[in-house]
């Protein structure tokens, strides 16, 4: 498919153009909010980061860097995000004294205590949601990417949407 941004496809030219493209997106992000960008931009692709089951059924995600994001974001940055998320999920599922006490208390009250109290897991999930929001605002949105909270996908995948802004090509 011919793209007006990459007319003849030589490597260095592509790079230069892509750099300019990224700078323009960054500038655009400064003037537009995340919401506006989502409405203006079209979805170019979606990347899915799958679960990593090497340590059992705990919720962990693979830290392997997807190749589609090579031109979009720094590998270290991405791995840092995933690693932080993994740590947060590990904290949620940690078998510590707090969860044990919570479990025993719940059992003794015939599980009615959950009607008034939030579980430890839910508290950590809120933390995770906030973290993802913050990462999106600071790092991913300026690069035309969007992380979807895994809880919206049943903790199966981390969905990364790659947006393609068409407003420059017109």
């Amino acid at each position: 498919m011919s793209d007006p941004l990459f007319p003849d496809g030589t490597c260095t030219q592509q790079h230069a153009v892509k750099n300019r493209y990224q700078t323009e997106i960054f500038n655009m992000a400064e003037t537009h909010s995340l919401q506006d960008m989502r409405q203006q931009a079209a979805v170019a692709a979606k990347v899915f980061v799958q679960r990593d089951y090497t340590s059992g059924t705990m919720c962990q995600f693979q830290t392997k860097f997807p190749s589609e994001l090579e031109t979009k974001i720094d590998k270290q940055q991405f791995e840092e995000t995933i690693r932080t998320l993994n740590n947060l999920y590990a904290e949620a599922e940690k078998l510590g004294s707090q969860s044990f006490i919570e479990g025993c208390l719940a059992c003794l009250t015939a599980y009615t205590v959950f009607l008034c109290m939030e579980t430890h897991y839910e508290k950590v999930l809120k933390k995770i949601a906030k973290y993802i929001q913050e990462q999106n605002d600071k790092i991913y949105a300026p690069r035309g990417l969007l992380l979807t909270d895994p809880i919206e996908r049943g903790l199966r995948v981390i969905e990364i949407t790659i947006y393609e802004d068409r407003s420059f090509t017109r």
């Binding site: 059924t57 969860s99 479990g103 025993c104 897991y121 996908r153």
Partner: protein, 459 residues
């Protein structure tokens, strides 16, 4: 567009068409709908999505009825006598036990057992793209599996055709509820729901407390009859007492047995499903296949199962549907790919087979020589049940096998199909998809329908 049974899922088309197809229908909706109203599984919801039950709720009313009637008879006919002759603690203890039993039962029945929501269309397309399908002459290709390492143990993950995803470990698809359930134990008709990760502790406390309750009532009734025999011969309420005796006597054997069995399961961190299938018993002589999830300490296992952190419900029953996603994924894919018919004739299969043949021949001309590492991964090669290939080059999954043996991370699963170990290595198109765009998917995809494996309800 050919009416092929196997069709590519083009995410671009999927992201565009739902808006056009469903907007006219959905914009007419009077109120925003909640997600439970569009839930694809066979479940029933109450209290605006707060409570969930299987559609086939089995004999839950019978269970409740038996418990309530037996306890009622106990309180009505035995307690007055026993309070008079023994102590007032008896109805108090009985009452507490009864309340606990009913609370646990209702909690088990109405809690989401750990249902996994079905994969979105884009996810399913992504997974399909990563799997190499050779196309076969049978109606549905052999089940796809992926092998991973958990705590140095090889575990096979199966692909669920209904939910369109690889099931996480210990997850099973319940055919009665048509859902994938995490840490699936069994579907209990007495409780009217699946027993899985989220409600196993309630189920366990239900059967333990029920054992105590039946034993308690049985003991009290026997005491009552004994005391009456020695005392006066007032046998007015003898019929009710006999009824209680009979019910308790028969329940005790089954309930105590079940409690004992589940105590064993909890202590060894197993599920009923795994125990019955013998997943972790060392059947194979050389390989020591222990349970990779067990902590090798009974107390830790009990704590993990019963007192572990409570995971949230993943299906978000009470969330609101966005205006453009009124129809669930499973049926959405049928709308977006209108020519798709699950039961097409054989010539459509051969059409797709021909396509695959061409692609295979084309791709085998490419660079791709997988490193020829078949034999060293042979212990991990899955048993392959499959029909013999029709008239196509048998595709080997040697490359993907080696990758599966190595890192977990590579999404290149060994495809369970009819292969010969020494067959030619054809390039796995997934390798060439290292930097794909969604429209470049070449593999033939299966848009399957219907549940993958049905597990018969236990007890």
């Amino acid at each position: 567009m050919k009416n092929c049974e196997y069709q590519q899922i083009d995410p671009r088309a999927l992201s565009v068409s739902p808006l056009s197809a469903q907007n006219p229908a959905e914009t007419k909706a009077q109120r925003p709908r909640r997600k439970w109203e569009a839930f694809p599984g066979k479940n029933r919801f109450f209290c605006d999505g707060r409570l969930i039950l299987a559609r086939q709720n089995g004999v839950l009313p019978l269970t409740l009825g038996l418990i309530v009637v037996t306890s009622g008879l106990f309180f009505a006919f035995d307690c007055p006598f026993l309070v008079e002759h023994l102590t007032v603690c008896i109805p108090v203890i009985g009452g507490l036990l009864f309340l606990f039993v009913v609370a646990s039962l209702l909690r088990t029945s109405f809690t989401d057992p750990g249902i996994l929501p079905r994969a979105t269309a884009e996810e399913a397309a992504d997974i399909e793209r990563q799997i190499d399908t050779s196309g076969s002459s049978t109606y549905r290709p052999p089940p796809r599996t992926k092998e991973i390492l958990i705590n140095q143990q090889v575990v096979k993950l199966k692909y669920c055709f209904t939910c369109k995803m690889f099931r996480p470990p210990r997850t099973s698809h319940c055919s009665l509820c048509d859902n994938c359930v995490e840490r699936f134990d069994h579907h209990c008709p007495w409780v009217g729901n699946c027993v899985g990760k989220r409600n196993y502790r309630y189920f366990y406390s239900f059967i333990i407390s029920l054992s105590f309750l039946t034993s308690f009532i049985f003991g009290c009734v026997v005491t009552h009859i004994t005391l009456r025999k020695w005392g006066s011969s007032g046998l007015d309420s003898s019929l009710c007492t006999v009824v209680e005796l009979v019910i308790c006597f028969f329940s005790i054997w089954s309930i105590l047995g079940l409690s004992g069995f589940h105590t064993y399961l909890v202590a060894s961190n197993l599920t009923t499903n795994e125990d019955i299938k013998g997943s972790w018993s060392s059947k194979r002589g050389a390989e020591e296949s222990g349970n990779p999830y067990s902590y090798s300490n009974i107390l830790t296992n009990c704590c993990v199962t019963l007192c572990g952190p409570m995971p949230p419900s993943l299906i978000d029953r009470r969330g609101f549907l966005a205006p453009d996603e009124g129809i669930p994924v499973a049926s959405a894919s049928e709308i977006e790919l209108p020519p798709f018919t699950p039961k097409s004739e054989a010539n459509m299969c051969t059409q797709s087979t021909k396509d695959v043949l061409e692609r295979m021949l084309r791709s085998s001309d490419f660079h791709g020589l997988c490193p020829s590492g078949t034999p060293k991964t042979s212990p991990l090669v899955p048993e392959v049940p499959g029909a013999p290939p029709a008239a196509k080059p048998p595709v080997s999954s040697g490359c993907s096998r080696q990758l599966a043996h190595g890192a977990v991370v590579d999404p290149c699963p060994p495809f369970s199909k009819s292969i010969r170990r020494d067959s030619l290595h054809s390039i796995n198109p997934a390798f060439r998809l290292a930097s794909p765009s969604p429209t470049l998917s070449r593999s033939v995809l299966v848009v399957g329908d219907g549940p993958d494996v049905g597990f018969p309800p236990q007890h």
